[in-house]
């Protein structure tokens, strides 16, 4: 890349941001997960039924009104009748139903497991039929971008998406960039920028692009967050994207999951080990190191921005207390090697992390370091998910979670989904958690938050995870760009910054 800044018109935006920093493998196809990551993100090219606003409340996108049946099994949505796809055809209820049914069939994006099917009644009414009472289903109405039923081709749609969102895909150079142009027929608030070019760059190349002045905004690794670049300022946002280490709650009795993966661990199966780790680790110090200080401590995996957040019942950094708990449970260092034993079992286990994620690596290594003080030996192991999967139910794993949908609690702690895919990998089996989840599912979504909170609290009292903290997202933003900090949506796991693109503007066009 040459020096100097690239010339472009004030109403053109050059960015280097993307969910998880990665290019969508199947292109811009919501049926393959575009616009979704743990909860709905702005798909830009497509519309969704509902959106979230900066206060995390639901606002209409395609919807004009919706009603929910008393048993939370039927959701009826009225949609706008004035929306056109970018190919000129009318967006109808049939397209909405088709999109949801197809997304469920593919199962690559939103979790639509509680939906039986969606049907269109006339051109503007969609009815979602659920197979169980699920008051969280309202969240799913933000998760799926709507594609046209006619001409939808699973193979090619990702490269040539037709949608009704604020932008149209103009060009996609795989491995390099995509270019979006404003959709003149968009029914909602018109965004300022006519054209968005988003580059796919490696972390170091992204930072170099900032230094060269080639981009207006770039998402950077937290390692770069303390750098200063003239003409740019750092913006960083709290997220609900939390990192934690799962601690298998069951003993290893030879039990295996459906896909034949060992469940349980004789060390973390002892509640004393899990409690000692939770209160003995110093999270503040971990964040300072692993996230460069750009994060918030989390004791229970529920970020403070969420309506079901609760205060921790314990404090951390208490090495002596943790040691006392271990001693009381019968863990003693009998052979003097600094690692505790109980009945001949060494307090030793592995923590797997995805080797692509440096912050997960730092968490695994730093936790292992701190655990040494408690007499617990943790061996960090880095690898791809293929390496992690055979160990995900029997060893610690550094996970990332964070959804604005409380249904995530079910995924994390419900014993009925234990050890299925990435659900409840710690095999927590607490019937009171399960029944709290059940009762939350039949309450109005706003009223249910306190029940969800109780479920999470009950689960946390078993110390099934060693939660560490939420990670901030950091951006270098050109001084000529206003990304409207007051209207940002909350950041789920794998979220992106496009949620309030409608409010972005060039503030000083001559600066660039």
């Amino acid at each position: 890349m040459g020096g100097g800044s690239t010339e472009h018109a004030p109403n053109e935006l050059v960015a280097c941001v993307a969910a998880h920093g990665e290019e969508p493998e199947y292109g811009f196809d919501p049926m393959h997960g575009w616009g979704y990551h743990d909860s709905g993100t702005e798909p830009l090219i497509q519309s969704t039924i509902l959106k979230r606003d900066a206060n995390n409340t639901f606002v209409n996108d395609l919807a004009t009104n919706y009603t929910i049946s008393d048993d939370y099994k039927t959701y009826t949505v009225e949609i706008r009748d004035d929306v056109k796809f970018s190919d000129g055809s009318q967006l109808t209820a049939g397209d909405v139903a088709f999109s949801y049914n197809t997304a469920k069939e593919f199962g690559e994006g939103a979790d639509l497991s509680s939906m039986n099917n969606a049907t269109a009644e006339g051109d503007t009414t969609v009815v979602f039929h659920l197979n169980k009472s699920d008051s969280t289903f309202i969240n799913k109405l933000t998760d799926v971008g709507i594609v046209p039923e006619a001409n939808y081709n699973n193979e090619t749609y990702g490269q040539n998406p037709i949608g009704s969102g604020p932008y149209k895909l103009a060009q996609w150079d795989k491995g390099q960039q995509f270019i979006l142009e404003k959709n003149p027929d968009y029914y909602g608030q018109e965004p300022y920028f006519d054209k968005i070019t988003n580059l796919f760059l490696d972390p170091d190349a992204a930072f170099a692009a900032v230094k060269n002045g080639d981009v207006d905004i770039a998402e950077v690794q937290l390692a770069y967050a303390n750098e200063t670049v003239p003409g740019y300022h750092l913006e960083y946002f709290d997220s609900i994207d939390v990192r934690g280490i799962s601690l298998p709650t069951q003993m290893n009795t030879g039990k295996v999951s459906e896909d034949n993966i060992t469940i349980g661990n004789d060390v973390t199966g002892d509640p004393a080990i899990r409690e000692a780790l939770n209160i003995g680790i110093n999270r503040e110090e971990l964040l300072e190191g692993a996230f460069n200080g750009f994060g918030n401590v989390s004791y229970n995996g529920v970020a403070s921005q969420l309506p079901w957040a609760f205060d921790s019942t314990f404090e951390d950094g208490k090495v002596d207390e943790a040691k006392a708990i271990l001693a009381e449970a019968g863990w003693n260092d009998t052979d003097g090697d600094g690692i505790l034993e109980k009945n001949g079992t060494k307090a030793s286990f592995s923590v797997y992390y995805n080797s692509k994620a440096t912050e997960r690596q730092a968490i695994a290594v730093a936790v292992s370091e701190q655990a040494k003080e408690l007499g617990i030996e943790i061996t960090p192991v880095g690898g791809s998910w293929d390496d992690i999967d055979p160990n995900k139910y029997s060893q610690g794993v550094v996970w990332g979670f964070g959804s604005a949908d409380p249904y995530e609690i079910e995924h994390q702690y419900d014993s009925r989904v234990a050890c299925v895919g990435y659900d409840n990998p710690e095999a927590l089996n607490d019937s009171s958690v399960d029944s709290l989840i059940d009762s939350a599912m039949v309450q109005d979504v706003n009223g249910s938050y306190s029940t969800w909170s109780q479920a999470a609290q009950q689960a946390t009292s078993n110390y099934p995870f060693l939660w560490v903290g939420t990670v901030d997202y950091a951006y270098f933003v050109s001084d000529s760009l206003d990304i409207s900090n007051s209207t940002h949506l909350i950041y789920p796991h794998g979220g992106d910054i496009w949620g309030n693109i409608y409010d972005w503007a060039r503030i000083n066009a001559t600066a660039k």
Partner: protein, 283 residues
């Protein structure tokens, strides 16, 4: 004789060439041994200390510190030690493979053609590709890398040994032994092996630098080891992220150290060759 090179002046001037060669070998060997052993002795998990992260070189931290506050000098030594170990095991293994194949080739014409075909096959696949495939096949990890390097570096030595064995096989004393009714195994053990032993030694040592370079390239590409483990390739690939921030020491010192270690092995190999093969001593 005023143009005496530096090593023929002063302290070592009264040593003859043979003594000097041995001295060179011993000294370089000692340095490598020290690196290897000190790497083995340091704790497997390097202590992280976030309060001293990304510090430039100083007297406390000769090579500076990385993003987790680990001392880069220790990390480099540990990485080199791992490289040497992988190099050692894999070059010995590849020499064993080479020797066995060379002897198999000498048994009959069919075997000879088979071994030649095998050599051509392996030589035609790029090393790095072969290493990646084999290391994945062996389940990654240090073991996978070791096996991968071993199974891809026997080619050159096999070629040399095969020619050597063929030549010895045509000699009169071999023919005589055959007529005396000695078995092929006996001939191989008593006549051929002693003669090619020096070739095997030198060959093993000359594989070493290649093995180390290839080990660091595969770990650079992310194959094999966890990214928190100290291997030179991992250290170098990690440093790429921080070069843009001006942390030159993360790449410079480990890279230089790798270069020096490879050179040291090359020096030992060359000198041993002279020692074992006097006809080359004048070169």
């Amino acid at each position: 004789m005023s143009e005496l090179p530096w090593y023929n002046r002063g302290l070592f001037s009264n040593l003859n060439l043979r003594q000097k060669t041995i001295l060179t070998i011993a000294l370089t060997g000692l340095i490598l041994l020290i690196i290897f052993i000190s790497g083995l002795l340091t704790n497997a998990n390097l202590p992280t200390d976030f309060s001293i992260k990304m510090q430039p070189p100083s007297f406390q931290h000769l090579f500076g510190t990385d993003w987790m506050g680990r001392d880069m000098f220790t990390r480099t030594i540990k990485g080199l030690s791992l490289s040497i170990m992988i190099g050692l095991v894999s070059s010995i293994l590849s020499s064993i493979i080479a020797t066995i194949l060379a002897f198999i080739a000498s048994t009959n014409k069919f075997c000879d053609e088979f071994v030649s075909w095998l050599i051509d096959l392996f030589a035609s696949i790029p090393h790095i590709l072969l290493i990646m495939m084999i290391s994945i096949g062996f389940g990654k990890g240090a073991f996978g890398v070791m096996m991968a390097v071993a199974f891809s570096h026997w080619v050159n030595l096999t070629r040399v040994l095969r020619a050597e064995v063929l030549q010895i096989n045509t000699s009169e004393y071999v023919a005589l032994s055959k007529r005396f009714g000695k078995s092929k195994l006996w001939i191989a053990k008593e006549h051929i092996l002693p003669l090619v032993l020096s070739q095997i030694f030198v060959g093993t040592l000359l594989v070493f630098p290649h093995a180390i370079m290839h080990e660091s390239s595969v770990t650079f590409l992310g194959f094999g080891l966890s990214p928190h483990e100290p291997a030179i390739g991992i250290i170098l690939s990690e440093s790429m992220t921080y070069l843009a921030m001006g942390a030159w020491w993360l790449a410079f010192f480990p890279g230089l150290a790798l270069l020096i270690v490879v050179l040291l092995f090359d020096i030992i190999g060359d000198n041993l060759k002279r020692l074992f093969d006097p006809s080359e001593a004048n070169n």
